[in-house]
């Protein structure tokens, strides 16, 4: 059976949903193992076992986080060799994609990013050109490296749990030689809302919110949604850059995307048009966002959103 290695980097106290999805996908492709980095908390260890990890690889070095990407790729390459893995699965974050990129060169392995599904024969499905095409692609090399978008499959624990054996992987001494060093790190305050790329519902605001995300936050809280933004809103400093959706921000494909005060420029659409359902609220009936909205409201977001929030609360009693 194919050995499938899932890379899990610094999960903290609990395993993210995205990691559970990767483990579930790994089981559908072969025998799952985990290459882990960071502190292993009990909850995380328990989840890895429940999701069927056969082996847990951990790095001999503890300073991988002090460098950008390179040493993690060296560790992962050593883990793939130790495990004899033929498939590597990682998240689709910027950093994970870069680790995958370098791992690919180290192993002579094809890398496919933005994957949403994998067939048992290794065929990967993804969408390209800002969601205008769906493609299938395959690595032609003995090892395949796939970065998988979150929300691609429903996580399910294994029928029978495991007691994964822990194996230390020797990180090559040269791993940090030509690497950029992280000299300072500022943690961002957690919003308490769902993670943008994992959220089932996203409420996004643009220049039209005019500095006031309050009505969007209220609606997001009523819906259990994450908050997103256009570049105009992040550039204006009304909300952090990590909320930006689009070509140079995040790509999201939630069940529901509510766009408020956003015109719908091509670079914004690039990040959200694979959402299942799109709702748009905009004062200007000519806004391009209405070309792709399933439900469009020509109106003032400061009227429409609070009314919707109140109505949701009323219905829920």
């Amino acid at each position: 059976m194919a050995k499938v290695l899932v890379f899990i980097d610094n999960p903290g106290q609990v395993l993210k949903k995205a990691s559970l999805e990767l483990l579930t996908m790994a089981r559908s492709l072969g025998e799952p193992a985990v290459a882990f980095n960071g502190e292993l908390h009990d909850d995380v260890a328990a989840a890895l076992a429940a999701y069927g990890a056969q082996t847990l690889y951990r790095p001999s070095a503890t300073d991988l986080d002090d460098y950008l990407v390179g040493p993690k790729a060296s560790y992962l390459a050593a883990a793939v060799q130790t495990a004899g893995a033929t498939v590597v699965l990682t998240e689709n974050s910027a950093e994970a994609k870069e680790i995958a990129a370098r791992l690919g060169i180290k192993l002579g392995a094809g890398v496919i990013t933005d994957v949403v599904a994998v067939d048992t024969d290794g065929t990967a499905h993804k969408s390209v050109l800002a969601g205008s095409y769906t493609t299938t692609a395959k690595a032609t090399t003995p090892v395949a490296v796939l970065t998988v978008k979150s929300n691609s499959i429903t996580p399910e624990p294994a029928v029978t749990g495991t007691a994964p054996e822990s194996v230390t992987v020797q990180v090559p001494e040269t791993a940090t030689a030509a690497s950029a060093r992280v000299t300072a790190r500022t943690e961002k305050a957690a919003s308490g809302r769902p993670d943008l790329t994992e959220a089932r519902i996203v409420v996004a605001g643009g220049r039209g919110v005019d500095g006031n995300f309050g009505p969007l936050e209220d609606l997001a809280d009523a819906l259990g949604a994450a908050i997103g933004a256009s570049r105009a809103a992040t550039d204006a400093g009304w909300i952090g850059h990590d909320a930006q959706i689009g070509q140079t921000g995040k790509t999201v494909s939630p069940q529901l995307y509510i766009s408020a005060g956003i015109s719908g420029a091509i670079q914004q659409k690039a990040g959200m048009q694979t959402a299942k359902v799109i709702v748009a609220v905009n004062k200007d009936a000519e806004s391009p966002v209405f070309e792709i909205a399933d439900f469009g409201i020509v109106g003032d977001l400061f009227q429409v959103l609070p009314q919707a929030t109140a109505e949701i609360k009323k219905r829920r009693g």
Partner: protein
């Protein structure tokens, strides 16, 4: 100092884009200089200008790999202010994936650094067609250079480079020693436009054409044969069509909730 900026000729995202080339490759007929590379070019120009510009022996080389038309990305870079242009072009390159692309670009960068190695290789954060962000990281790996990617700021003090990188959960300050590879985001600067003077000056600048033979790459290592991934199928996703549009008459918020309820999204 010597800076190599990678510039890609990509289909203009303002128009419909198609995968109708051989082997599901991109149709490049309506192509432009990738917008995201303009930020890298601007960063390079600012760095050399702060060091006395070309007069002080600094230069910015714009390097593009691609078919005949890709020379337009090089020309535009020269108009914006690059000192020299290089166009790597060879039939055997067609259909290269990120791994094959990074192999060819790494060889071209080594070739261009044969007498004086480049101090910096600068790229955009992603191409606006493939959008994988794989190539900068793969180039750093192949060239064994420190990788400073997704930089939203960049400072140089002698051979010491400092950059800021904005992650999801944290922001990092990165430090590396030159030579290094840096990719920059669209947050780093406001790219300049070519002006009349720049357009006239560009006519006198040289564009060197390189083939695989010039950079010592075996054609079998690139193109579809040298790629490590293959695209098997490409299907146009049905374009989204507009649904119901209503104008607020004082109850649109309620109608919105009714719509969500009907879609079972509440």
């Amino acid at each position: 100092m010597k800076i190599i900026v990678l510039v890609k000729h990509v289909p203009d995202a303002q128009f419909d884009r198609h995968l109708t080339g051989p082997g599901n490759t991109t149709d490049r007929s309506e192509s432009i200089l990738s917008e995201l590379d303009e930020y890298a070019l601007e960063a390079a120009l600012q760095l050399i200008e702060a060091r006395g510009g070309e007069a002080a022996g600094n230069k910015v080389i714009a390097l593009s790999m691609g078919p005949a038309g890709a020379v337009n990305a090089v020309k535009k870079s020269l108009q914006i202010g690059a000192s020299e242009g290089v166009h790597l072009t060879d039939e055997a390159l067609a259909g290269s994936d990120a791994a094959a692309t990074s192999l060819a670009l790494a060889a071209a960068i080594r070739h261009l650094g044969a007498d004086t190695p480049a101090d910096l290789v600068l790229t955009g954060m992603a191409s606006t067609d493939g959008e994988t962000s794989l190539v900068p990281a793969q180039l750093a790996e192949r060239l064994d250079l420190p990788q400073v990617t997704f930089a939203s700021s960049l400072e140089l003090d002698g051979a010491r480079l400092t950059a800021r990188r904005d992650g999801d959960t944290h922001a990092d300050t990165l430090e590396a020693t030159l030579p290094a590879l840096v990719s920059v985001t669209d947050q780093i600067n406001d790219p300049r436009y070519p002006n009349f003077k720049g357009i006239m000056a560009a006519k006198k600048k040289t564009i060197t054409t390189l083939t695989l033979a010039d950079i010592g790459v075996d054609p079998a290592q690139v193109g579809r044969s040298g790629s490590w991934t293959a695209v098997d199928s490409a299907d146009v996703r049905p374009a989204r069509t507009a649904g119901t549009i209503i104008t607020d008459e004082g109850d649109a918020g309620i109608k919105l909730v009714e719509f969500l309820a009907a879609q079972k999204l509440l």
